[in-house]
Symmetry: none
């Protein structure tokens, strides 16, 4: 993970009639490489994520390495959550996309239904530290309600 980045910020955008979204320029800036390319992944229903290509690759490699190591040392039995996470990651369908004019993303066929947002409706663009996420408003509210109470403990734990 190219660690210098830590993306935060929140913005509302609307999907135009051709399934395009304009990302906030700062986010587009950090997420895309010099050709304007990045990785679009299905995160969960109602949510897509955008990654720097290098980070995405690293994420997969690291995950694989981690699991291999655990299998070898016979520690797999108690860590099914990691296996699950990896499986999810690998089976998550993703593809490379390019941002037109450095900031306009066309949501490809196959990802549209997954996002569950109809044309000419709003999405939330959210910085998630290591990636940028695109949420349907409904899923976003749901996730907030679910995760907000965990904020304190999680912050304490991760920064310990």
């Amino acid at each position: 993970m190219s660690g210098e980045i830590f993306i935060t910020g929140e913005a509302k955008r609307t999907i135009d009639d051709r399934f395009r979204v304009t990302l906030p320029s700062e986010m587009a800036e950090v997420i895309s490489d010099s050709d304007g390319n990045c990785i679009l992944a299905k995160e969960r229903s109602g949510c897509l994520s955008l990654w720097r290509a290098a980070d995405w690759q690293k994420r997969i490699d690291d995950g694989v390495a981690l699991i291999k190591q655990k299998i070898q040392t016979g520690r797999m039995e108690s860590r099914w959550s990691d296996v699950q996470r990896l499986g999810r990651m690998l089976s998550t369908r993703y593809r490379t996309v390019s941002l037109a004019n450095r900031s306009r993303l066309l949501i490809p066929e196959g990802f549209r239904e997954f996002l569950e947002v109809p044309v000419n409706h709003d999405v939330m663009i959210v910085g998630a530290a290591i990636c940028v996420e695109i949420w349907s408003p409904a899923a976003w509210l749901e996730a907030l309600r679910e995760d907000m109470p965990k904020f304190g403990p999680l912050f304490t734990e991760l920064s310990a």
Copy 2:
């Protein structure tokens, strides 16, 4: 916490049609840095808070810096979904804002609905010792009614 500050005071202001509020000059003075920047945070529905960037940093950015460092040194490999989740919550919870003319705050998109005060209506600006709070009148009354009875005991306890 830069301990020399202890903000008190109360004022009524109205949010203008461009979502601007003018802070009492004494408060604006103490919470903003030399560039007029400070941190705006979502406190609870109906209440926003303003912090000196330096103080906020003590609370949050130190932790973020630590997490960044952990990411860089590869100590977050198995925690990426948690990092994502945390980043997401950080994104919605706060952002840095700058005060125009040293005292006028533009309430950003995303914080407006949270405050629940329509344009051209009043808010209460309240000094809360270490930060400045912006309350919707309804939430303010509610909080007062809730907290007032505790004031005596609390004051006695804290000043003992």
